[in-house]
C-alpha cells in the first residue's frame, strides 16, 4: 500500500519533533540512552501516528493493538511519542528519571498504567508479546483484529530468552504477532558483530518459522509497507528487521556506539537541537 507523500511529510515532521523532545529530556535528566531512541523515532512515529489501532483518550480500550517495548532503555522515544500522541502533556517529559516522576528510567507500569509492560532487563519482551498473542488467539480465534507488536533491539538477541520466545511463536504460528528489531548494529560494549555476531539474522528467524522482512528503518513508506505485509501473512508470525542508524538525526551521534548509554551535555544538546530544528541547516530555527 502506498502512503501519500503529504502523509509521509507529516510523519517526518512529527519524528523530528519527537527527536527534539528526546534531546531535551535527556539533557535535563542528566542520564539515559541517546542513540537507540533517536534511531527508533521514525518507527515509533509510524506506529503511533499512522498504523496502530489505539486511542490516547481511552488507553485501556480492549480492542487496541498492543505494543511491548522489550528494550526498555530506549524509553525516551516511547515517552516522547506517547506525549506527542496525546497520552500526557509535553511538559511532563521534563520529569524523566526524576524522583516521583511517572517517567521512570526504565518503563514501569505502576507509574504509567497504560504501558503494556514494564521493561529494562533485556530479552524478555518478545515472550510477553507471544503470551499476549496466545491469549488473543484463545479469546478471538484466528479472526482477531488486534495486532501484538514487540519492539526489540538487536543486542538483546544475545539473550536466550529472546530465542525461546521466537521458537514458541513459530511453533504456534502466531500471525497476530509482529516483532520489529532495531538493527542498529551497536550495543553498550561495541558493535554487535564484534560483541556477539548475530548474522545471518534473517536465516535465524526463518529457521524458527517466521516471515522475515528487511527494511530501511528511516523510510516511512518501507516501515508502513512492511507492517501491512506482515499483517497479511496468515501462517506465521512476522519479524521486521529494521536497519537503523543509531543516533539518527544528529550527525555527531550517528553510528557511534559510545552514544548508546549516555545523554548529551548542555553544549552537545544545544548543537543537536539546532541541527534538528533547522533540519540539518535546511531551514532557520525559530529558536535562534
Amino acid at each position: 500500500m502506498a502512503t501519500s507523500s503529504s502523509t509521509i511529510k507529516e510523519l517526518e515532521i512529527t519524528a523530528n519533533e519527537i527527536r527534539t523532545s528526546i534531546i531535551e529530556m535527556l539533557v535535563l535528566a542528566g542520564s539515559g540512552h541517546t542513540a537507540g531512541p533517536l534511531g527508533m523515532a521514525d518507527i515509533f512515529t509510524a506506529l503511533y501516528f499512522h498504523t496502530l489501532k489505539h486511542d490516547p483518550h481511552n488507553p485501556s480500550w480492549e480492542e487496541r493493538d498492543r505494543v511491548v517495548l522489550s528494550n526498555g532503555h530506549i524509553c525516551p522515544v516511547l515517552y516522547a511519542t506517547l506525549a506527542h500522541a496525546g497520552y500526557f502533556s509535553l511538559q511532563e517529559l521534563s520529569t524523566l528519571r526524576k524522583f516521583g516522576s511517572r517517567l521512570q528510567g526504565h518503563p514501569h507500569r505502576d507509574f504509567l498504567p497504560f504501558l503494556e509492560t514494564s521493561s529494562g532487563p533485556l530479552g524478555s519482551g518478545l515472550s510477553q508479546a507471544v503470551g499476549m498473542a496466545l491469549a488473543d488467539r484463545i479469546d478471538s480465534g484466528s479472526s482477531s483484529s488486534r495486532t501484538i507488536y514487540c519492539l526489540m533491539s538487536d543486542g538483546e538477541l544475545d539473550a536466550g530468552n529472546s530465542w525461546e520466545g521466537a521458537m514458541l511463536a513459530g511453533k504456534e504460528r502466531l500471525h497476530n504477532l509482529i516483532a520489529i528489531i532495531d538493527r542498529n548494529n551497536i550495543q553498550i560494549d561495541g558493535f554487535t558483530e564484534d560483541i556477539m555476531p548475530l548474522e545471518s539474522l534473517r536465516a535465524k528467524w526463518e529457521a524458527w518459522n517466521w516471515h522475515v522482512l528487511e527494511i530501511d528503518g528511516h523510510n516511512f513508506e518501507e516501515i508502513i509497507g512492511a507492517i501491512h505485509q506482515a499483517k497479511a501473512i496468515f501462517e506465521k508470525p512476522s519479524v521486521i528487521i529494521a536497519h537503523t542508524i543509531p543516533g539518527k538525526g544528529v550527525s555527531g551521534f550517528e553510528r557511534k556506539y559510545e552514544w548508546h548509554g549516555k545523554p548529551p551535555n548542555k553544549e552537545e544538546a544545544k548543537q543537536a537541537l539546532n541541527e534538528l530544528r533547522t533540519l540539518g541547516g535546511k531551514i532557520v530555527s525559530e529558536h535562534q
Binding site: 498492543r66 532487563p121 530479552g123 484463545i138 514458541l168
Partner: protein
C-alpha cells in the same frame, strides 16, 4: 518417613490433641496413614480452578505429567501451552497472557522455576503486578535419588524476598488442592511450593484453608513448653516428634505455616507468648527460609529462643528421602533434639 518405631502403638488420647476445629485426618499418627504426593493436589486443584473460571490457563515446561498439569491439559487442550524446556519463556509468556486478562498457572520443578527464571518472575510478573501463579514442584531434599541438582532448597528464600509475591507451602495433597484453588481466586502473583514424593495426608476435605492463616495442628492438654512451626510435608515429622515428646513429658504445640508470605504474625506472636521457645522445621536452607521468616517477625514483635531444623548451608545428594532427612538432621529424632535444646535455652 512416618514409619518409625512409635507408629502404630498410639493411645487414643494423642489424637485428642489434634485441633478439633480443623477436622484433621484421624489416622495422622497411624503407620498406614494414606500417602499422596503434594503435586497431585496441585494437578487436581488446577483442573477444578479451570472448570470454575475460563480465564485460567496452564503452561508447562516439558514436565506436564510430572507436575500433574496433565489433568488440566487433557480437559482443556486449547487453554494449555506446552513451552518446552524453557523456563524463562514459561514465566514471560505467562506474564503476557496475564496482561490480557488470563490467570496463568506455570509449572516446572522448583529448581528451574523459580530457580532459573527468577529475574523474569521478579520483573515481568511481580514488578509488573501480573496475576500469574507459579508452581514449583520437586522442592526439598526428599526428591531423593535425582540428587542435589534437582533438590530445590533455596526456593522459599528467593520467592519471599520478591515484593507482591505470596508464598504458599501446603503440607499435603489435600491442602495443595485448596491452596491452588485459593491462588486462582486470589488476585496477584502467587508461588506454590510442591513436593515430589508421596507424603502423609494430614488434613481432610473439611479442614479449612485460608491464605495468610497459620493453624495449630497439635495442642497438648497441659501448657506447651515449646512451639514448633513447620511447613510442607516435613510437618508430619514435627507432629511425630511432638507425639514422642508428649510421651516423654515434654509438651509441644505444632503450627502449620502453609502461608510463608504474608506470614501470620498474630499467630506466631501468640505461639511465642504461650511457649517462650520455638523450633522451625522446613526442607530448605536455613538461610532465608521459614526459620528466617519467623525470626524476622518475632525479633521485633516478641523475641524468643529459636532452633532451626533445615539444611545448613549445604547442597543435597542422591539417596532415599528418609536417608537424606536423617543425614541432614531433619528426621523426627533431630526435631526432638532441637526441642530439648531450645528448652534449655528458655529462661
Amino acid at each position: 518417613m512416618n514409619c518409625g518405631p512409635w507408629a502404630g502403638k498410639l493411645s487414643a488420647n494423642i489424637n485428642e490433641m489434634l485441633n478439633p476445629d480443623l477436622k484433621l485426618n484421624p489416622k495422622i499418627f497411624d503407620k498406614d496413614v494414606e500417602q499422596i504426593p503434594i503435586r497431585q493436589g496441585y494437578g487436581e486443584g488446577l483442573l477444578l480452578a479451570g472448570e470454575k473460571d475460563s480465564r485460567v490457563v496452564a503452561l508447562c515446561a516439558d514436565l506436564t505429567e510430572s507436575t500433574k498439569t496433565n489433568l488440566f491439559a487433557e480437559k482443556f487442550p486449547k487453554r494449555f501451552i506446552e513451552i518446552g524446556v524453557a523456563e524463562q519463556n514459561l514465566a514471560t509468556v505467562a506474564s503476557g497472557m496475564a496482561a490480557m486478562g488470563k490467570i496463568p498457572f506455570i509449572a516446572s520443578y522448583a529448581m528451574f522455576s523459580p530457580g532459573r527464571n527468577w529475574e523474569q518472575i521478579r520483573t515481568t510478573i511481580c514488578y509488573n503486578n501480573q496475576n500469574v501463579k507459579i508452581a514449583g514442584s520437586h522442592a526439598g531434599i526428599s526428591v531423593g535419588p535425582d540428587g542435589g541438582t534437582h533438590q530445590a532448597i533455596e526456593d522459599i528464600a528467593i520467592t519471599r524476598v520478591i515484593p507482591r509475591l505470596t508464598v504458599l507451602s501446603p503440607c499435603d495433597a489435600i491442602e495443595a488442592r485448596k491452596a491452588t484453588l485459593a491462588a486462582a481466586a486470589f488476585v496477584g502473583p502467587v508461588y506454590i511450593r510442591l513436593a515430589r514424593e508421596k507424603t502423609p495426608v494430614m488434613t481432610t476435605e473439611k479442614t479449612p484453608f485460608q491464605i495468610g492463616k497459620a493453624q495449630v495442628f497439635f495442642e497438648p492438654k497441659e501448657n506447651a513448653q515449646v512451639g514448633i512451626v513447620g511447613t510442607g510435608a516435613l510437618l508430619h515429622n514435627a507432629l511425630l516428634a511432638a507425639q514422642e515428646l508428649e510421651q516423654k513429658g515434654i509438651a509441644v504445640k505444632v503450627l502449620n505455616l502453609s502461608t510463608i508470605k504474608p506470614i501470620d504474625e498474630d499467630r506466631l506472636v501468640l505461639l511465642a507468648q504461650e511457649t517462650g521457645a520455638l523450633v522451625t522445621v522446613e526442607e530448605h536452607q536455613i538461610a532465608g527460609g521459614v526459620g528466617s521468616a519467623v525470626a524476622e517477625a518475632l525479633a521485633h514483635l516478641y523475641p524468643v529462643p529459636i532452633e532451626f531444623i533445615g539444611v545448613h548451608d549445604r547442597f543435597g545428594q542422591s539417596g532415599l528421602p528418609a536417608e537424606l532427612l536423617k543425614h541432614y538432621n531433619m528426621d523426627v529424632e533431630s526435631i526432638q533434639s532441637a526441642v530439648k535444646k531450645v528448652l534449655k535455652r528458655k529462661r
